[in-house]
Symmetry: C2
Subunit: 206 residues, 2 copies
């Protein structure tokens, strides 16, 4: 019963339920039912719901790593950035098409809900955000070297601004429950990078 | 017992508790205790916790209106925008100094937590966000007329980008529990408006 499969099923079920309704609205019993697991199995793998949330965020980070790894590496970095934001926006829009709700970023939403309540979860959220910042910063460094982004700020500052903008746009899309909000993502990101409007238009579409 | 004062006390207590810990983590009983009110009084004024949350958001909108109304009107609109973001950042930082936690935007945090769960609360969040967008758009229109912002996008598009950036920066500050994140707010907003870096430096500080 307490097989590694069960652990992953609990993580997958929790990820889905918490993304749909938030951390505090979802209970351990409900996660167990959705994962077809006993409570005994749950507590074999996780000390608490908090520990489960941390495992979900670790799992999300791995998914994020796979997403970043799948970005084309044979194109200019600025194009990779544009494609990354298009793919993120498309994922949010696709999920809205499934159940009529924009759930937002599964990492940012947890950060917004839980940061003042659980230091352990807040730190796990931060680690995932740091992964995003690092990947973004590296692409920005390359795009600056390729002459596509003016070096008006440090790559780290630019990356932080982009993460903030992506999180905020996704939060607005969720609050408005409007997938159209996501369509602005690429343009806003490119403007924050100091890319000229003409150049934005000429970048390859996903 | 069920005086209008009691209603406002319930709203104030709920605003404080929900901002500190989130909507789902706070119960009606706890709000009543913090407001020194009986449950009977609560249900005299509010049908449900959801109705209370809507009243809190209406109250927040009024506070927001007062905040916007207090912005200096005798300065260029671009300066008003810069001062507005400085004041918002300062409020977030000041609150961190009180209890060591960045609570984030009291409106955006609720949007992130509850939008998929309560259509009524989501709509109330949207109305508050719309107020922010409208005020921002009007200032942008004036700043464009005053020649301080290049009209590369419509004022509404620019306003939406700013709201997204402000919400995202605040969410990052909350997730990192780091007031330093807020110090970037003015610069990022000005860059999104297409203001030249030199001009950003020359704007009056708050």
């Amino acid at each position: 019963m307490a097989s590694p499969d069960t652990r992953q099923r609990l993580i997958d079920a929790a990820a889905e339920l918490i993304h749909a309704r938030g951390y505090n609205a979802v209970g351990v019993q409900e996660v167990c039912e959705a994962a077809d697991a006993q409570k005994g199995s749950f507590y074999h793998f996780f000390d608490s719901k908090e520990a489960l949330m941390k495992a979900v965020l670790t799992d999300r980070r791995q998914g994020l790593g796979a997403f970043f790894g799948a970005l084309p590496s044979d194109v200019p970095a600025l194009e990779s950035l544009a494609l990354m934001y298009d793919a993120f926006a498309a994922a949010i829009v696709a999920q809205h098409a499934q159940d009529g709700h924009i759930r937002g970023c599964p990492i940012g939403s947890v950060g917004a809900e839980i940061s003042t309540q659980s230091e352990a979860i807040r730190r796990a959220v931060c680690e995932a955000l740091d992964d995003m910042t690092t990947t973004t910063r590296k692409l920005i460094e390359r795009a600056i070297a390729e002459g596509d982004i003016p070096p008006t700020s440090t790559p780290k500052e630019l990356a932080e601004r982009l993460i903030a903008y992506v999180q905020g746009t996704t939060l607005l899309a969720k609050s408005r429950n409007d997938p159209e909000v996501m369509r602005e993502l690429r343009s806003g990101c490119m403007l924050l990078l100091g890319v000229e409007p003409d150049r934005i238009q000429s970048l390859r579409s996903s």
